[in-house]
């Protein structure tokens, strides 16, 4: 696997591993069938992320992404943290192999889910996430759609072929 040094560092020495005892927000995304689960817990003080911890079941990229994003988010305001995109994380890691870019989506999703969980618990409206995470058409990523693991463009959840690169997309039944 061609991972950058930064990825290998965050994988071997992940920062912020754990689970906050009484979290202000919890976000869990992924499912074991796909191979990745990330659980983020956050502590919020004065609108800032005082602490961010994660637990991840997944590959090298998944663990590295979780570690990096928790580092990037710590200390930021909730609004700032919501602006962290999957591209930001991939860039901070000096890049991810193309078939691992989806892991960076998951990391950002999990963090944002934790923040939105906090908002929900405190009767605030959920916030829109990351404008960068839109398909080439500029439209928001729909529920029930995913990304082609090879070329990363958005494809409908049940599409058998990727319109971007022609790869066959298999689905787990």
């Amino acid at each position: 696997m061609k991972y950058t040094q930064k990825v290998m560092d965050h994988f071997s020495n992940p920062r912020n591993v754990g689970a906050i005892e009484e979290p202000d927000g919890v976000g869990e995304v992924g499912n074991p069938a796909c191979g990745d689960i990330m659980t983020f817990t956050i502590k919020v003080r004065d609108g800032r992320l005082e602490d961010v911890r994660f637990q991840t079941f997944g590959c090298g990229a998944a663990i590295a992404v979780s570690s990096m994003i928790s580092d990037m988010a710590k200390g930021k305001t909730l609004e700032e943290a919501l602006q962290i995109t999957n591209n930001d994380v991939a860039e901070a890691l000096d890049g991810l192999p193309t078939n691992k870019l989806h892991c960076s989506n998951l990391g950002a999703d999990a963090l944002h889910a934790a923040i939105n969980d906090y908002y929900r618990q405190n009767s605030k409206p959920s916030r829109e996430a990351r404008p960068a995470d839109r398909g080439p058409s500029g439209k928001k990523k729909k529920e029930g759609s995913c990304r082609c693991p090879y070329c990363q463009i958005e494809v409908p959840a049940d599409s058998p072929i990727c319109k971007g690169c022609g790869s066959q997309l298999d689905r787990n039944e």
């Binding site: 696997m1 991972y3 290998m8 994988f11 071997s12 992940p14 591993v17 689970a19 869990e28 074991p32 069938a33 796909c34 191979g35 990745d36 689960i37 990330m38 659980t39 637990q55 991840t56 079941f57 997944g58 590959c59 090298g60 990229a61 998944a62 663990i63 078939n99 691992k100 989806h102 693991p149 090879y150 066959q168 298999d170 787990n172």
Partner: protein
Amino acid sequence: MDDTDKGVYLDHVAAAPLLPEVLEAMLPFLKGDFGNPSSMHSLGERCDEAIEEARKKTANLIHAADPAEIVFTSCGTEANNFALKGIPLAYQNRGRHVLVSPVEHFSIMHAIRTLEKMGFQVTQLSVDQYGRVDPEEVERSITPQTVLVSVMHGNNEVGTLQPIAEIGKIAREKGALFHTDAVATAGVIPLDVEDLQVDLMSLAANSFYGPKGAAALYVRKGIRVQPLLDGGIQEKGRRAGTENVPAIVGMGLAAEVAVREMETRRRHAEALRDRLKEGILERIPHVYALGHPTEKLPHVLSVAVEFVEGESMLLFLDMEGIQIASGSACISRSLKVSHVMLAMGIDAALAQGSLLFSLGKDNRQEDVDRVLEVLPPIVQRLRDISPLYRKAKQATDR
């Protein structure tokens, strides 16, 4: 080169080193004896003789009655494609139904999709929790329309051996041709195409320390098969293309050595595999051995480590110089978990923690012991990060 530089290599089903004598035998054909076997002149003739020698040795490995029943191909995938397309196309007037197991190599699982697009009907059998096909299901599933049954001899992902002789008997009785992908078994365990009652068999040199680039499809005399490659009349018109002389020569010699060394290699690998298996099951909790308990390849160990994902374990192992494989989704390019494990009914989450060890003739006890030393802390380290482990622990601590 010092052996210790290479670390611990335990991925022999993916690739195996060349025997030194095989490399020696190949070199002349990469140097002065560079001829084309189809050429009329003496250089060409020498090369032609060399591949015919290799053909005899390859036939001998599987107890084929006649060397002419061996068609050399570039790889196991080509041999599988050749059988899976070549037979239905040749016999389509007899019927358009093909029967395969659900745990075949991708070269068969994907070839059947092409068959379906061509208008053939394909049925997939089922397997039990060990990945084994039931011959009775084969019997029930063969119809008068069935032209080909294909079930692999040994599975490279979990090691399970299939009841090929029983299936062969049934196929013969019902008039369907029977192909077996023996890439994982030919040259590794003794086999005989007569005893197995197969009509076609795929085998590959790299499985028995021959080179990549040489493989073969055994085609029983009298069986027609539509060529995959059109062109010149190499391989008696069955497989066009200038032969890969050095690789074929290598395959022949490797086959000859395999016949001689097979029993020694089998015992050696099996002892180490069993030591590795016992050690892993003993030292790491929540680990499960996959595949059939007795009907299995001697050199393969497939385990599933709960709560942890395969690629992350492989990365840590690689950092320690230990090289193995896994069936996890993250490892596969398609990002799907192993179809073999899913067919066996293994929970997708558990299948993600798959580790696949395949031993070779050069592995030693120290290699196994190194894995046993290094793997448990790796697993624990990853479990400490895992939300699944945490949840499981909380459930039991209650």
